[in-house]
Symmetry: C2
């Protein structure tokens, strides 16, 4: 799914919601009797109409043991091809090895995108950018507390933060048609900086809900002419009493934001 198609779906659905499929065995309702795939299907059924993307986090499937990969594959198959599918895997290794992670995400799993950790630099990121029509989503600013530890380190030569260097360097390796950034919602005050660094790129925004991010602030500072945002909710939908309602409420908030900040295209 390319950038134009993604934006088209956002306009059609008046939503830029990404649903994080992170099934926590300890929190899945008892009625599913531990059947993770059935739980995922119920969430997909309840949210399909309101979401433009799904984001299974590989950690939850790997922890399930040998059966986990089968469940992950079956979940992706069940989503189908109408939504952007993001393998939230935060991979990255030397070039030769990153090539195998890219093969895993794009060929084995059939995902459209994979999240990538930047610490190992250029040759660790480039293999994810060599698949036409696929996306690498590189960590820039993350929504967790530990995000402060290294990402905001001020550099001697420029006086700017490490995430600034990460984004500018990574943007040399791929275009806004193949590259997004993870930009956590808990740091909405940095969104105008992030948007000035990368005016055209989509940002994948975790941290709404359980982690306390402010959706309207993110939209105000983060939206661009093609929306440029995919806002993720995982726990806030998965473990809601009524997941469909939780997704619909987020979609409605997003529709308002589109009307406020992109009035010319949200009619």
């Amino acid at each position: 799914m390319d950038r134009a198609e993604l934006f088209q779906r956002i306009q059609q659905k008046r939503s830029f919601l990404c649903v994080g499929l992170d099934p926590d065995p300890d929190r899945i309702p008892a009625s599913f009797d531990g059947d993770v795939l059935a739980f995922n299907r119920s969430i997909i059924d309840a949210t399909r109409e309101y979401a433009v993307a799904y984001k299974p986090n590989t950690a939850f499937y790997e922890a399930l043991g040998l059966d986990g990969m089968r469940i992950l594959h079956a979940t992706i198959d069940y989503i189908g091809r109408d939504h952007l599918i993001i393998a939230d895997a935060k991979r990255g290794d030397i070039g030769n090895t990153s090539g195998y992670y890219a093969r895993f995400a794009f060929e084995t799993l059939g995902a459209d995108a994979i999240t990538v950790a930047p610490y190992m630099g250029e040759d660790s990121v480039r293999p994810f950018l060599s698949y036409p029509g696929k996306w690498a989503i590189v960590l820039a600013v993350t929504s967790n507390e530990g995000g402060d530890d290294f990402q905001h380190t001020v550099q001697q030569d420029t006086g700017t933060a490490l995430y600034d260097k990460v984004m500018r360097r990574v943007m040399e390796w791929g275009s806004p048609d193949q590259l997004m950034f993870v930009c956590g919602a808990t740091r909405a005050e940095t969104f105008s900086t992030l948007r000035s660094i990368a005016p055209d790129h989509f940002f994948l925004v975790p941290g709404i809900g359980a982690q306390g991010g402010d959706l309207q602030a993110v939209c105000r500072f983060g939206m661009n002419a093609q929306c440029g945002l995919l806002v993720n909710s995982s726990r806030g939908i998965l473990y809601a009493q009524d997941p469909a309602r939780a997704a619909r409420e987020l979609q409605q908030e997003m529709q308002s934001a589109l009307e406020n900040y992109l009035p010319e295209v949200s009619q």
Copy 2:
């Protein structure tokens, strides 16, 4: 396997060799007819005597599809409990999710150690440090070309490199009995700095062989009183004409280094 046991094995075997089990389907000898597990077993049989650790990189198994995890499990079972088993996975995510990766590595796979990417900070690393007797091996300086892109970024407040901050901060979260660092051999000139930052920690050293690292320089600047080094070889052994001989030659080089730099314990 704790630090004292690891050092004991190094003394017994006069080796600190780690064999990287990264089976590349395109390079496995035709005689194995694509049977990755049989190939891994042959490498383990050929190197068991010379190695103290094995390090399967998860990328190669994930790329094999649904069968890959089964092969990874079977490989780990075949190694047994006499060697340190490192899941080279370079994982890291928000705390809740890193906990699932830790479960994957230590419970599902039964590895002794996992490599961890530090970009997301404290809560992404701590879950790997909560298993008694298990190890987190955090990326500090990596052996690939892209390692220069961000790891050597000079910080404004200290004038030191990002990897220095990463190591010092991470050392606040765990002891040398549960924490190692990945320190690439292609930057042997930085080993005296690395050792001054972390005098007691083990370093996992990739980059010997295919990536051009100098084993003697690493030992000269990197060894401590408990050896403190695990030197990895993957391609240099896996695809050698005679893997046992390649491993034995490395073991002999390591024995010399132990005699040179740790004469009091290498008798």
